[in-house]
């Protein structure tokens, strides 16, 4: 294939983009981890007691996504058997090298926090008879007794871990943004705003996912959706959505206003190549519409049933928004040939290790794990001291 006159992409770009759908999925899943954790932290640290119905579930969700956050990365590597080199011979000038460490730290933190939050239930079930109790004995880490004193200490730890988890979540995801933001070769990526944009959109996606899952699980469990809890989540989502979209737009606005050397090609990227996924999906369907729906949704006057419908629709739309944002950054950035004279073709692949089918499979796994966790642990139980609230 020869590029036509005026267009020229560097020869090695003719083979397509090097990072495909797996690298779209990787920041998406990581973002859900951070976002879900923020909801749990709003309850545990910032005293948003109305979030009690989803507080435990949020932790379980964060953990389930976290457990699979590295799988897409692994699948993307051309030499996956050497993946562990990242941990054993890291090159710390690389933005990628720290991921293994930050990730392991965060996963451990989440696991410990979950074990502590559910400790009373785990201990109770471990003391029952039957085969099932073996699992809980394991989860209790062998300590089958709880005293008032130990509960107090556990509560303190939960609080401490939640506090520590907030900067950790920010680092985890801000860091993912830096992987792109630190690439000076690519003007679509290279901006100091990138980590902040990734962080804001991560929080957005996490809250949206919780709203959707909360509604779905409530339907499955045939229980009523707690109106105050949903309203609070929608309000928070609305706020963070504004923040995320403003940051995303500011970045573009700045590029357009400065209209530097590469703007001629960037403007074509946005208006031609990414017109559908950026303008239509990310900006209109995924941002403008949910902005209005959420606004109506969190207003007091809105009835609970309408709120559930609005929450479900806007939650799903926001999830699509963030996915398209990841796509527009990861794939969009690579469409830009470094010749800045033409675009690299992106042809989505269905089959193969990095294909869309495998990606769908990978993305299903956290949900399977979450379903399993919610069978094992009472994720919908509201902490005793918040019953009155």
């Amino acid at each position: 294939m020869m590029p036509h006159a005026g267009e020229f992409i560097f020869p090695n770009d003719l083979n397509g983009v090097a990072w495909t759908v797996m690298i779209v999925l990787y920041p998406y899943i990581t973002g859900l981890v951070a976002g879900a954790f923020v909801v749990a932290a709003l309850y545990h640290v910032f005293g948003r007691k109305e979030l009690a119905p989803v507080a435990r579930f949020a932790l379980a969700a964060s953990f389930s996504f976290c457990a699979f956050a590295t799988l897409p990365l692994l699948l993307h590597l051309h030499q996956p058997q050497r993946a562990f080199f990242i941990m054993f011979m890291p090159n710390f000038t690389s933005a990628m090298a720290g991921f293994g460490f930050i990730y392991s730290f965060y996963l451990t933190l989440l696991a410990v926090e979950i074990l502590l939050v559910f400790r009373t239930d785990i201990v109770a079930m471990a003391n029952e008879k039957g085969v099932r109790s073996l699992l809980y004995k394991l989860l209790s880490l062998g300590v089958l007794r709880e005293t008032a004193k130990s509960k107090e200490i556990d509560a303190k730890w939960v609080h401490a871990l939640s506090v520590l988890g907030i900067p950790a979540a920010c680092v985890l995801h801000g860091y993912v943004g830096f992987i792109f933001g630190g690439i000076k070769a690519n003007p679509w990526w290279s901006t100091a705003l990138m980590p902040v944009i990734f962080l804001a959109s991560a929080i957005v996606s996490g809250i949206a996912m919780l709203i959707v899952l909360y509604i779905v699980f409530s339907k499955i469990r045939r229980v009523k959706v707690d109106d105050e809890c949903l309203r609070s989540m929608m309000k928070t989502l609305w706020l963070f959505l504004i923040l995320a979209v403003v940051l995303e737009s500011l970045e573009l606005l700045n590029m357009a206003y400065e209209a530097g050397e590469e703007w001629h090609i960037l403007s074509r990227l946005v208006t031609e190549k990414l017109r559908f996924s950026f303008v239509y999906v990310q900006l209109i369907i995924g941002s403008a519409i949910p902005f209005v729906l959420l606004l109506i949704g969190w207003m007091k006057k809105t009835g609970p049933r309408t709120r559930v419908t609005l929450g479900m629709i806007s939650g799903l739309l926001v999830l699509v928004q963030v996915l398209s944002m990841r796509f527009n950054v990861v794939i969009g950035g690579q469409m830009l040939s470094k010749s800045f004279r033409g675009f690299v073709e992106y042809i989505p692949e269905w089959q193969g290790r990095e294909g869309i089918l495998v990606a769908i499979g990978v993305f299903t796994m956290p949900f399977v794990l979450l379903a399993a966790v919610s069978q094992i642990l009472p994720v919908w139980k509201i902490d005793a001291h918040d019953h009155q609230a």
Binding site: F85, N186, K338
Partner: protein
């Protein structure tokens, strides 16, 4: 085939910067050494690798690799590459030679030749012949009457002094030899393609045969023994010159001294050691 070279001393301190553009960087400089030390301290402190790093740097300063693979006391060889675009005729011999010498898979390129055609209406056409024998004579001719000027620009890895590709490699599989040659350790590369993203010049690719990062090595397996890279050897017009830029008597040093020299995308501060004669603003 593994071009692991002199991995004992992944060296960044031997080249120096006399100008921000990095066009002249052939002499040793203590300032550069200190700056590298500071940089390494910042990153290394996190992992308690400060001390080994200092030792490594000190080693690198001591070792002198001689010209043509022989040790020459007190002289450090820094390789450089010069492309005189005014001489290139677009025959594609270099591309063919590179492909043969380095077993480069079809459709992937360690070096290529671009043609720039300037039309009277102000438009510029850029293309390359990536098929057959890679010669431009194989492409449909352009009408000379419409053309203001036209020339060829061979491209290859710039063996940058401040390399974004080495910077981003999470496992240190991309590295620089004592002579300033940027290489990939194919046994260590995990194939993450981060370096492919980070190279501003499109010279890196994931080799479809080896499934690791790949790019021009300046034929490291040849230059270690005093030979020239295959592309330099085969070029019939002397467009490509290769040699020790730290030796003022070498052919390349003289050419660098006598001509107006440019590098690609100098604004990115990578300080390429592949230099050019006769670039225009349109060449990126």
């Amino acid at each position: 085939m593994s071009c692991s070279g002199n991995k004992g001393a992944k060296d960044t301190c031997c080249e120096t910067q006399n100008q921000p553009t990095g066009l002249l960087d052939a002499s040793e400089s203590r300032r550069e050494f200190l700056w590298d030390a500071v940089k390494n301290f910042t990153f290394g402190a996190l992992t308690l690798t400060v001390i080994p790093m200092f030792i490594e740097k000190a080693d690198a300063e001591e070792v002198h690799t001689g010209k043509d693979g022989k040790e020459t006391k007190g002289h450090t060889v820094i390789f450089g590459y010069l492309v005189d675009t005014t001489k290139c005729i677009g025959c594609g011999g270099c591309m063919l030679a590179c492909k043969k010498e380095n077993d480069v898979p079809d459709g992937q390129f360690r070096t290529w030749v671009e043609r720039y055609v300037y039309y009277a209406d102000g438009s510029v056409r850029v293309d390359a012949n990536l098929k057959g024998k890679f010669a431009f004579s194989e492409l449909p001719p352009i009408n000379p009457k419409e053309v203001l000027k036209s020339f060829f620009v061979p491209k290859l890895c710039n063996h940058c002094t401040d390399t974004p590709c080495i910077q981003v490699c999470p496992v240190g599989a991309s590295y620089k030899t004592k002579e300033g040659v940027v290489l990939v350790d194919y046994e260590q590369c995990i194939g993450c393609a981060y370096c492919v993203q980070a190279c501003p010049f499109g010279t890196r690719f994931i080799n479809t045969k080896t499934q690791t990062a790949d790019k021009c090595t300046w034929c490291y397996h040849r230059i270690q023994h005093g030979e020239k890279p295959a592309c330099v050897d085969v070029c019939p017009t002397g467009t490509r010159t290769f040699g020790d830029i730290n030796d003022p008597e070498s052919e390349i040093s003289k050419a660098l001294a006598e001509n107006r020299i440019d590098v690609l995308k100098s604004y990115l501060g990578t300080r390429p050691k592949t230099r050019y004669i006769g670039l225009t603003a349109e060449v990126v």
